[in-house]
């Protein structure tokens, strides 16, 4: 069987100790929360940390506080199962509960955390392979090599943002609290992500993501649709997160964010702007869905063909909007989600 490489596991009991441990070990250290993504990746030698700083013992990272009216603060160490099952989140931010409940399998959602999913490594089917496989093909720039095997002429890595919750949180305008050696800061979640398959997070090396902060629900409606081969287990190869603020039947504000079609959650800004001030008619939805497919630029490095993933982008955006508008086609949306 594939075995884990040797490493030292540090188990701090407080956030302060965790920050100190992370700073002390420098680049040799990585954080681990649920470990559902990290450990298999270590077996394939995608990561070779000599120290793991475990976050499981930190009670500060646990739990959901707040309300729909004031917004929720979700500890980064809250499991995906807990987020999916939280009645307040399910009521006020259904897209987040849906996305958390669609990550991988029930067993892994019981271990995996929201913070882990927000920070989850980008994926590529030239990269998520064993050491022997990657060596046989000559390695890629994300680990051990210097070319991108998806786009060999490209100077950058095109690994895919594969978080279900990230596009939803971007569409909900969530903020993140990060704690590091020099104190803490709160940033909009959009500022966390960089459009690069390798340096996909703007998190400083000494920082720990502690909280995900959702604003007041305030009339926003949300939906998330996920494309994957199977009803369980699979990472998204397309995620569509839509959030719309309605006043009566007029759209006052809207965000559409695409997951798994770029190295970062990709906002479809033109499409969202086209909604504002309008009624959610079937004609408008069709036009906006076509616009939203524009920024969807998948490459051939996940499951399914990339032209297919692009085609489904339009379908899913339309379905998410129809569900929010309460139009027909909602049933299909629910079955897909």
């Amino acid at each position: 069987m594939m075995r884990l490489p040797p490493f030292t596991y540090v188990a701090p009991r407080t956030l302060a100790d965790a920050v100190t441990a992370l700073a002390e070990h420098g680049p040799a250290a990585m954080l681990v929360a649920g470990g559902t993504d990290l450990y298999p990746n270590m077996k394939r030698r995608q990561f070779e940390p000599t120290v793991l700083v475990g976050l499981r013992g930190l009670r500060e990272l646990q739990g959901v506080r707040g309300s729909g009216r004031d917004g929720f603060t979700i500890g980064a160490g809250t499991t995906l199962s807990a987020v999916a099952a939280h009645p307040g989140i399910a009521r006020e931010f259904p897209a987040l509960a849906t996305a958390a409940g669609l990550v991988s399998s029930p067993q892994l959602r019981n271990m995996g955390t929201l913070g882990g999913n927000v920070c989850v490594d980008t994926r590529c089917n030239y990269y998520n392979q064993s050491y022997e496989w990657r060596r046989a093909i000559g390695f890629c720039m994300k680990k051990d090599g210097d070319v991108c095997l998806v786009a060999p002429g490209s100077p950058r890595c095109w690994a895919v943002s594969s978080s279900d919750t990230a596009p939803v949180l971007v569409s909900l305008d969530a903020r993140l609290r990060l704690v590091g050696r020099d104190g803490e800061r709160t940033i909009p979640i959009g500022a966390l992500y960089r459009d690069d398959g390798i340096q996909y997070l703007a998190r400083r090396p000494d920082e720990i993501l502690t909280d995900i902060v959702l604003p007041a629900a305030d009339g926003w409606k949300s939906a998330y649709l996920k494309l994957r081969r199977r009803g369980s287990f699979d990472f998204p190869v397309l995620g569509v997160a839509v959030a719309v603020k309605l006043e009566g039947d007029v759209v006052r504000n809207a965000r559409i964010v695409l997951g798994a079609v770029a190295s970062t959650p990709r906002p479809a800004e033109k499409a969202a702007a086209a909604l504002v001030g309008q009624r959610l008619t079937p004609e408008l939805i069709a036009r906006v869905a076509a616009l939203a497919a524009g920024p969807s630029k998948p490459l051939d490095n996940t499951d399914f063909t990339h032209p297919y993933r692009k085609k489904v982008t339009r379908v899913f955006v339309a379905r998410a909007l129809r569900a929010i508008a309460g139009l027909g086609g909602g049933a299909a949306v629910e079955e897909v989600a």
Binding site: N125, S130, A136, I137, D303, F304, K311, G329, A331, V336
Partner: protein
């Protein structure tokens, strides 16, 4: 015999090993730990096709904790392979590698991590050769030879058989269809990765524990490649955590473990990683098929001509048999008076294909069943009624000289048609929204055991030894391996039935070549029938001996006695019946040790022409399948709602087990139909993990309605036929036909994926044919056909005298 004459047979009982399996008591090969055991790893080729210039193992040997490093140069220069005609594999490659994953060196070390590290320190100097990754590439490059043997450059096998005159048959037809199909390769995906432990003892004798479906064949190969008399080799089959045909060959890792154990004087364990299992493969061949069939307006088939091209991968494996199987079984299902079959297996630089559940027959089954669906539509016939009309007659021969004994196909069709509400659902439906429902049907037939062994011989295919113990138990020794299908349980049920015991009173010993009589192995759906017949014979002999000893005690003739409820006695005077344990005491006092053999070999029915040995079987199972699903016209996504499957199992020895086999077959068939693909990119397996190689999860599993049909076949044990493979076969074409019914597009390719459906729907919108599938076949010269008179419709003997079964 009617059901109520049985005490054990026909009851839904848990498997005898169910408790051990679910509580974790079962010790698989990887659970074995021996004192001083070392761990082995194979270094595998990173090149698909390359000459080996040099291998430097010095750094690996110097690594602390490494016991030994072997290369091909350290081993006897002998090739091996499962079929005598395809001895083309090396334990460790010496001159060249033919696929990524070919083993080039073997390491034994103190632990697995060290062995793996040592493999990474081995430097191999490869001279890359052009890699041929498809049928078309291999045929187009005869200058690049993957092997030096075979029926032509990169052609492993080229066959052609003709029964009757196809041109005349097509001239008689009202409709002649020609269709081309492609069936992508896929793999077995057993839960257990292959593992083996070799112990070359200080006494110079070797024991190998292995997760194998064929301990006897592994024994024979070890006796040939190890420089050790077979008499000093013992192969013990560990419980197999899923085989499906993937553990049916002798493997390099098994032999390498033996060599390493000899070299270092320690037991050696080797366990493949999941990735290695994908490369070890021996799974479903990718097959390109061309099929031409003539139909009358009533739906009768006048004749059929089938051409198949198999992408065999880098080695022979069972490939010669696979080649025949892509053609020989189709005529068993339907009346097909004239038949021509041409096939070629092509070598490519990919992992070798071999036997996967249904071995070679799902691909031509897909082609025939989808073509019949298309023909039915053109002829204005109901696809179910048409198939029922053309089902083969019992106790007749097929065009290609196979004997059909009983057939319950018509009843299977009736059952699935009724249960699914077929007639009501086939009509037009209101189309609203993007989600369209459809319902499709397909049928199939499969062998109950291959009529010939891997190597020609006149010995039994299966042997059983039944030994009665003074405690009142009976030990059953048989070389069959339980790969999860429940063969150990079947041996216990049959023995218990004959001797009037409970299954728990019967101990079934695992296959052990030093102890158990030979059984050829768990493949070709042969075990229940062949071991079953041998077990019945052994138990009957034991019973006769016991009756002979009990009779004088009860002062009656042996003919007056019966064995039931753990006793032997006279039914009319049951109070005086003696316990089975007492009967054994009386028996031992009279006869000495009570150990009786049973043996079975299939009736000799091989056609008297070259190639006539592949296809004959004691009897055939039949299946009919209806699938209802929804297709999303916008995304192409398929949701399967219900599968109704009627299966003629002859007799359900244990209905619970039969249903389990049927459901497992449906599960595997749905995976093949909808998503599984063993595909390669830049010469490497594209997705060698259980996350990325897509196979169904429980969430995709629809409701399966199993409808058993019993035909009480005279060839089977208490009338039983196979259930482990046949029910897989109709699933893939039933999906294709249901998709067509739902959205009107033909996906003439497996797997049937959302992107292909979207593509076909787009083609239709653009006025092009609403179809995704191959549209051309290779330019290829098949062999001059062996022309034989069609035996179609000839009466076949109801019961043939079987060897060893007086």
């Amino acid at each position: 015999m009617s059901k109520n004459q049985f005490s054990v047979i026909g009851q839904s009982l848990p498997k005898i090993d169910a408790w051990a399996k679910v509580t974790g008591e079962t010790r698989y090969a990887d659970d074995l730990f021996l004192p001083r055991m070392a761990y082995a790893k194979l270094l595998r080729s990173a090149h698909a096709h390359a000459r080996l210039r040099a291998i430097d193992v010095s750094r690996a040997r110097a690594l602390p904790g490494v016991y030994a490093v072997l290369t091909g140069a350290d081993l006897p220069p002998v090739k091996f392979g499962i079929l005598p005609v395809s001895q083309d594999e090396e334990v460790l490659c010496t001159e060249k590698v033919r696929m990524v994953g070919d083993p080039v060196a073997a390491v034994a070390a103190v632990d697995e991590e060290t062995a793996e590290q040592a493999c990474r320190l081995i430097a191999v100097d490869y001279e890359p050769l052009p890699a041929l990754m498809s049928i078309e590439e291999s045929l187009a490059h005869p200058d690049v030879r993957i092997h030096e043997y075979g029926d032509g450059p990169n052609v492993h096998k080229n066959i052609a058989l003709q029964f009757g005159d196809p041109e005349a048959a097509f001239a008689r037809a009202d409709l002649v269809r020609e269709d081309v199909f492609f069936y992508e390769g896929n793999t077995h995906l057993p839960m257990e990765q292959h593992a083996a432990v070799a112990q070359w003892g200080a006494d110079g004798k070797l024991t190998l524990w292995s997760s194998t479906q064929t301990p006897h064949y592994v024994h024979r190969v070890l006796g040939r490649v190890l420089d050790l008399p077979a008499a000093h080799v013992r192969v013990i089959a560990a419980p197999v955590g899923g085989g499906f045909g993937g553990k049916t060959d002798p493997f390099a890792h098994e032999i390498a473990a033996c060599h390493l154990s000899r070299r270092i004087g320690r037991p050696v364990k080797i366990t493949l990683t999941r990735e290695e299992v994908f490369y070890t493969h021996r799974g479903r061949h990718p097959v390109l098929l061309w099929i031409k069939t003539g139909f009358t307006t009533q739906g009768d088939i006048t004749g059929c001509h089938l051409k198949t091209w198999l992408d065999g991968g880098a080695y022979g494996s069972y490939g010669v048999a696979s080649t025949f199987y892509t053609g020989v079984i189709n005529p068993v299902t339907y009346k097909m008076p004239v038949y021509k079959f041409e096939s070629a297996r092509v070598f490519t630089n990919k992992p070798p294909c071999g036997p996967k559940r249904g071995h070679g027959t799902p691909q031509p089954r897909f082609a025939l069943e989808v073509q019949i669906d298309k023909a039915a539509e053109q002829l204005g016939l109901d696809p179910a009624a048409m198939r029922k009309r053309i089902a083969t007659e019992p106790f007749t021969k097929t065009a290609n000289h196979l004997t059909v004994t009983t057939t319950g196909l018509a009843e299977c069709i009736d059952k699935v048609v009724e249960a699914s509400g077929w007639l009501g659902k086939r009509g037009g439906r209101p189309a609203r929204g993007p989600r369209r429902r459809g319902i499709g049907l397909a049928c199939s037939a499969y062998m109950t055991g291959a009529g010939t062994a891997i190597y020609w011989n006149d010995m039994p295919h299966s042997g059983v030894l039944a030994r009665a113990d003074r405690s009142g138990s009976v030990a059953v020794l048989c070389g069959a391996t339980d790969i999860g299908q429940g063969s150990d349980s079947i041996l216990a049920y049959l023995t218990a039935e004959v001797l009037g015991l409970a299954p728990k009173d019967v101990h079934v010993h695992p296959a052990d070549t030093a102890l158990t009589p030979v059984d050829l192995g768990s493949y070709s759906s042969r075990v229940t029938l062949m071991c079953g017949m041998a077990a019945i014979q052994a138990a009957e002999r034991l019973k006769t001996a016991l009756f002979k000893a009990v009779a004088p005690k009860l002062e009656v003739g042996p003919g007056a006695l019966v064995a039931r409820d753990g006793k032997i006695g006279v039914p009319e005077d049951w109070d005086k019946a003696v316990s089975f344990a007492r009967a054994v005491e009386l028996g031992e006092a009279m006869h000495g040790v009570l150990a009786f053999p049973g043996a079975y070999a299939p009736p000799k029915r091989a056609g008297k022409f070259k190639g006539g040995g592949v296809g004959p079987s004691p009897c055939y199972s039949f299946s009919a399948c209806v699938i209802e699903l929804t297709v999303d016209e916008e995304t192409g996504e398929i949701e399967v709602h219900d599968v109704w499957i009627g299966h003629d199992v002859g007799r359900a020895l244990n209905p619970l087990l039969v249903e389990g086999q049927v459901e497992g077959s449906v599960y595997m068939g749905l995976g093949e139909a909808l998503m599984e693909e063993q595909v390669f990119r830049k010469h490497l397996h594209k997705a060698p993990s259980m996350l990325d190689y897509k196979s169904l999860t429980t969430l995709e599993m629809p409701e399966v309605h199993t409808l058993l049909v019993e035909t009480d076949d005279p060839e089977g044990p208490f009338g039983a036929k196979e259930a482990g493979q046949g029910p897989l076969l109709p699933v893939m074409p039933a999906i294709a036909n249901a998709v067509y019914h739902a959205v009107g597009v033909r996906i003439d390719e497996v797997p049937i994926t959302p992107d292909k459906i979207v593509k076909a729907l787009e083609a239709r919108r653009q006025g092009k044919p609403a179809r995704v599938g191959p549209d051309r076949i290779p330019v290829f010269a098949f062999k001059e056909p062996v022309v034989v008179e069609s035996a179609f419709g000839q009466p076949a003997d109801a019961i043939v005298t079987r060897p060893f079964q007086p």
